[in-house]
C-alpha cells in the first residue's frame, strides 16, 4: 500500500512543473506576452462572453448610480426624509452583502451560472423600470432589496465565468477588461442620468424607466451567454492533458456522497492561506473602497464647492484614467502571473498602499488642480487592485469553489469592510472633518496592503496544492481503472495546527479494508489529532484524506459517519447526565427514523455488554471507567462502521476490562470493520495488530509490521516495552 502512495507522490512531483505551465505559471516573466487577440484566436475563442458580462456589469451600475444621484428628488416626491432613505439604502446594502452566497450555492448545483446571470439581469432591469412607478416607501424597499439580491450574481458569478472562459495566459487581461467595463458603467450611468434629466427633462421616475429599458436591452444582448464549463482552462485542461499523455481514464472518484456541501466549501476556502489572507485584506480594502466614493463626493462639495455637474465630470475623469491604467496593467499583470502567482498580489498591495497615501495628499492639497491630479493617480492605482488580487485568488481555489470565493470577496469588501469603513470614516469626519477622514484612510489602507502582500508568499504553494489535488485524483482514477489496489483510507501529507502551534507535519498513513492497525507514540505525538483529521472532527491545513479513493479531506464529521467512519474518542466518550440507554439512542441518531433498527442494535449492545443492560437507566456518569468505555464502544456496535477509529481504549482500566473491550474490538474487526487503534500501550496494541505506525513530534517515525517495531529500540523506550516484553515469547 505505501508503494502505491509513493507512486502517486512520485508522479505528482514529476508532473508538477508541467502542470504549473499548463495553468499559466511558466516562471518566465521576460517572455513576450502575445496580444490577447492572438491568444483568443489561437484557442478559437469568442469575445462574446467578455462583452456580455461587461454589458451586464455596466447595466448593474445604472440602478445604483441613479438612486444615489436622484435620492433628494425621490425624497421630495414620496415625502420621505433622508433618514428613511438611508434606512432603505442600508437594507439594500444588506441584500447586496447577503446575496452572493446564495448565488454561489445555486451555481454549486450545476453549470447554470450563465443562466443565473441573465435571469438576474432581467429581474434587476424590471426592478429598475418598476422603481419609476413606486409611490410608497415599502415599494421602494421592495424594489431596492430585490435589486440588491439579484446584484449578487455580479459579484458571485461574473468573474468565475470570465476565468473559466479564458485560458490562463489571457486571464489577467480578461479580468482587467471586465474591470474596465465597470469603469465604463461609471461613465455611462452619470452621462445617461445627466442627459435624461438636463436635456430630455425626465423626472427621476422617467430616468429609472429609461435606464431600466436600457438595462433590459443590455441583458438581451448578453442573453446568448453560455457557461464555458467549470474549470475548463485549468482543471479540465490539466485532466485532459494528463489523459492525452497516455494515462488510462477511469471512473470519477468523486460522488454525491463526498461532494462538499455549501458550508464545507466556505470552510475549506478559508483554510487556503492565500484566500484567508486576501479575504482579510479585502475587508480592509473595503473600509477604504466602499465609503470612499461617498466621502469624495462630500469632500469635493465642501472643500471645493463643486456642484453635481462638475462632480459628475470629475468621476467620469477618474473612470477614464482607470480604463487607461487597466489597459497598461493587463499585459504586465499577465507577465507577473506567469512568473509567480504571488507577484500580481504584491503589485496590488503596493498600489493599494500608494493609493491611500495619495488620497491623504489630495485631501491636504491647497490647489484644486493638484487634488484632481492626485485623485487621477489614485484611480489609476486603485482600479488595478481588483484584478491584481482576483486573478491569483481565483487561480488557487478549485474551480467549483470560485463562485464562493468571489461571493466571499464581495461580502468581505462590502459587508464587512464597507460597514466598518462607513462607521470609521463617519467618526473621523465628525471629529476632524471630511479632509481628516480621507487622511485617516492611510491607516486601514497600509494595514490592508501589508496583509494582502503577505498572501503573495503563499500563492505559489497554494497553486501547487491545487495542482497536487488534481494530479493525485487523476492518478488514483488511473490506478482504479487499471485494477491497482487502493487503500480504504489514505492520509497523505497531513499537516495540522492548533492556532500557531503545528502538531502534525506531513503525515502519511493508510488503512486497508478489514485491516486493523495500531497508531502508537508518546503523549503529545499527535496521534489523537491525526485520528480527528481522519474522522473529520479536525481539518488539516495541508494534505489529503481519501476514503475508498474519494477525497474526504474537508467533509464534515457527520457525513463521514454516513460513509462508515466512526470514531470513539478517548477519555470516556459518554454523555454523563444521560442514562445508558439514552446514550445509546444518541449514538444511534444517525440511524434516523429506523427506530426498530435502533432498538435491535441497542439489544445487541446489551447482549455484548450485559453490565450495561443491568445499568440501562443509570446516568452514564455513575458508571465505572470500564463500563463507560463499554458504553463508548457500543457506538460501534450500533453504527456498524466500515472504519472504526479508537482513541486510547485501555487508558486507566483494569486488565480484565481491557481484555473484554479488546475482545469486542477483535470481533468487530473479524466482522469486516477496519480499525485504527490509537494506544500508548505498545504491548496491548501489538497483541492485536499486524501493522503499526509510530509517531513522534507530529511525524510518522515508523511504519511496518508490529514485530519489526519491537526491534526499534531507538523508538520504543523501555517504559512502553515493559508490559510487552513480559508477555512476549522468549
Amino acid at each position: 500500500m505505501p508503494d502505491q502512495l509513493d507512486e502517486i507522490a512520485a508522479t505528482r512531483d514529476e508532473l508538477r512543473p508541467w502542470a504549473r505551465a499548463q495553468l499559466g505559471v511558466t516562471g518566465d516573466a521576460e517572455a513576450a506576452t502575445p496580444p490577447l487577440r492572438a491568444t483568443m484566436a489561437r484557442y478559437g475563442l469568442s469575445w462574446y462572453p467578455i462583452v456580455a458580462l461587461g454589458l451586464l456589469a455596466v447595466a448593474d451600475t445604472f440602478q445604483v448610480y441613479a438612486f444615489a444621484v436622484l435620492a433628494p428628488e425621490i425624497s421630495h416626491t414620496l415625502g420621505v426624509g433622508k433618514g428613511v432613505l438611508a434606512g432603505v439604502l442600508a437594507l439594500r446594502t444588506l441584500a447586496i452583502a447577503a446575496a452572493p452566497l446564495p448565488m454561489a450555492a445555486l451555481a454549486q448545483r450545476g453549470s447554470r451560472r450563465a443562466l443565473l446571470c441573465i435571469v438576474t439581469g432581467v429581474v434587476w432591469s424590471l426592478v429598475a423600470i418598476s422603481t419609476g412607478f413606486v409611490v410608497a416607501v415599502w415599494g421602494l424597499v421592495f424594489v431596492l432589496v430585490i435589486d440588491g439580491l439579484t446584484s449578487g450574481s455580479v459579484s458571485a458569478l461574473h468573474q468565475p465565468l470570465l476565468v473559466d472562459a479564458h485560458p490562463p495566459e489571457g486571464r489577467m487581461r480578461a479580468l482587467s477588461i471586465y474591470q474596465g467595463s465597470e469603469q465604463v458603467g461609471n461613465i455611462v450611468a452619470p452621462l445617461a442620468v445627466a442627459v435624461l434629466v438636463a436635456v430630455l427633462a425626465f423626472t427621476w421616475r422617467g430616468v429609472f424607466v429609461v435606464l431600466g429599458l436600457l438595462s433590459l436591452a443590455a441583458v438581451l444582448a448578453a442573453s446568448r451567454l453560455r457557461d464555458p464549463g467549470v474549470g475548463r482552462w485549468d482543471t479540465q485542461r490539466l485532466r485532459e492533458a494528463l489523459r492525452h499523455h497516455g494515462e488510462v481514464t477511469g471512473p470519477a472518484v468523486e460522488s454525491e456522497e463526498v461532494r462538499l456541501s455549501f458550508f464545507e466549501i466556505i470552510r475549506r476556502l478559508l483554510l487556503i492561506p492565500t484566500a484567508r489572507r486576501l479575504m482579510f485584506g479585502f475587508a480592509v480594502f473595503g473600509v477604504m473602497l466602499i465609503p470612499l466614493q461617498t466621502f469624495t463626493f462630500f469632500f469635493l462639495d465642501e472643500r471645493w464647492n463643486l456642484a453635481p455637474g462638475p462632480r459628475g465630470v470629475f468621476f467620469a475623469y477618474l473612470a477614464v484614467v482607470g480604463i487607461a491604467a487597466l489597459a497598461l496593467f493587463g499585459r504586465r499583470a499577465e507577465a507577473l502571473f506567469r512568473s509567480d502567482p504571488g507577484r500580481p498580489i504584491r503589485l496590488g498591495a503596493a498600489c493599494l498602499a500608494a493609493s491611500v497615501v495619495l488620497i491623504a495628499l489630495a485631501a491636504l492639497s491647497p490647489w484644486l488642480w493638484l487634488t484632481v491630479a492626485l485623485f487621477g493617480l489614485v484611480s489609476a492605482l486603485g482600479v488595478v487592485v481588483g484584478p491584481a488580487l482576483t486573478g491569483p485568488l481565483l487561480s488557487v481555489v478549485p474551480p467549483t469553489m470560485r463562485p464562493h470565493a468571489s461571493a466571499l470577496t464581495g461580502i468581505f469588501i462590502g459587508g464587512v469592510g464597507g460597514l466598518i469603513g462607513a462607521l470609521f470614516l463617519s467618526g473621523i469626519d465628525r471629529r476632524f472633518g471630511i479632509g481628516g477622514a480621507l487622511v485617516a484612510l492611510v491607516v486601514p489602507g497600509i494595514v490592508g496592503a501589508l496583509v494582502i502582500a503577505s498572501a503573495a508568499f503563499t500563492a505559489s504553494s497554494d497553486l501547487d496544492r491545487l495542482i497536487d489535488e488534481i494530479l493525485e485524483e487523476e492518478e488514483i482514477r488511473r490506478m482504479g481503472a487499471s485494477g491497482t489496489h487502493l487503500p480504504m483510507l489514505a492520509c497523505r501529507g497531513i499537516e495540522h495546527s492548533y492556532g500557531p502551534v503545528q502538531v502534525l507535519f506531513g503525515v502519511d498513513l493508510s488503512v486497508d479494508a478489514g485491516e486493523m492497525i495500531a497508531l502508537l507514540g508518546v503523549n503529545g505525538a499527535g496521534k489523537s489529532t491525526l485520528l480527528k483529521v481522519m474522522s473529520g472532527v479536525a481539518l488539516p491545513s495541508r494534505g489529503t484524506v481519501r476514503f475508498r479513493g474519494a477525497d474526504i479531506t474537508f467533509l464534515d464529521a457527520e457525513r463521514r459517519l454516513r460513509l462508515g467512519i466512526t470514531q470513539i474518542p478517548g477519555g470516556r466518550a459518554v454523555f454523563g447526565p444521560l442514562s445508558v440507554v439514552d446514550n445509546l439512542r444518541a449514538y444511534g441518531y444517525t440511524l434516523g427514523r429506523q427506530r426498530r433498527a435502533l432498538d435491535d442494535a441497542i439489544d445487541r449492545s446489551f447482549e455484548a455488554f450485559p453490565r450495561l443492560s443491568e445499568r440501562r437507566n443509570q446516568p452514564a456518569s455513575t458508571l465505572s471507567g470500564g463500563e463507560q468505555q463499554m458504553l463508548a464502544l457500543s457506538k460501534a456496535l450500533l453504527l456498524r462502521p466500515s472504519l472504526l477509529l479508537i482513541d486510547e481504549l485501555s487508558l486507566g482500566l483494569a486488565p480484565l476490562v481491557v481484555d473484554q473491550l479488546l475482545g469486542m474490538v477483535r470481533q468487530l474487526n473479524a466482522e469486516g470493520a477496519a480499525v485504527v487503534l490509537v494506544e500508548q500501550s505498545v504491548s496491548i496494541a501489538l497483541d492485536l495488530v499486524e501493522r503499526a505506525y509510530f509517531m513522534e513530534k507530529g511525524e510518522i517515525r515508523f511504519e511496518g509490521r508490529g514485530a519489526d517495531l519491537l526491534g526499534r529500540d531507538d523508538l520504543l523506550r523501555a517504559v512502553f516495552l515493559d508490559g510487552h516484553q513480559e508477555r512476549a515469547p522468549a
Binding site: H76, T77, G132, G139, T203, R205, E302, A307, R430
Partner: protein
Amino acid sequence: MHRRTTWVRWVARLAAVAWLSGCSLSGLNFREDTRVDVVAPADRSQVALPLTVEWTVRDFDGSFALFVDRAPQPPGRSVAWLFRNDDGCIEESGCPDAAFLQLRGIYLTDEPRLVIDTIPQLTGDDVRERHEATVILLNEDGERSGESAFSVEFEIEREPR
C-alpha cells in the same frame, strides 16, 4: 416536491402583492414639471438672513408650501399629516398652526414669494452651511397637488460668533 412548489408559489404571490401595492400607474410625473421656477435665491448661492425665496408660476392657481431642510408630505396629504403622530400637536387646539409649522421649517403661502427670518444653524464649524428649500403645490383643501417639488440649495453667511 409539491410542498416546495406551494411554498415558492406563496412567496411569489406575496412578492407580487408587495410590489404592486408599493407601485402605481396613475398620477405619476415622468417628465419635469415646469410650472414653477424658483428665481431667488440662485441655486448654490451665498445668502444672508432674512432670506427671500421667490418663484414664478404658470397654469396653477392654488397655494404653496415651502419646506426648509425637510421632506414635504406625500402627494394627496396636507401638512398636518406630517404631525399625525406628534402628541404635542392636537388638532382640536388648531394645531398645526403657522407658528408651529415655521418652527419646523414649513411655510404656507398663497403668494409666490416668502421671507424667511431664521433658519437653524447647522452644527459643525467646518461644515459649509448648505440648506435646501423645497416648494410644493397645494390644492384648495390644503393637500399636496401632484408629486411635483421644486428645490433650490443655498449657503448662509452668518456673522462669526
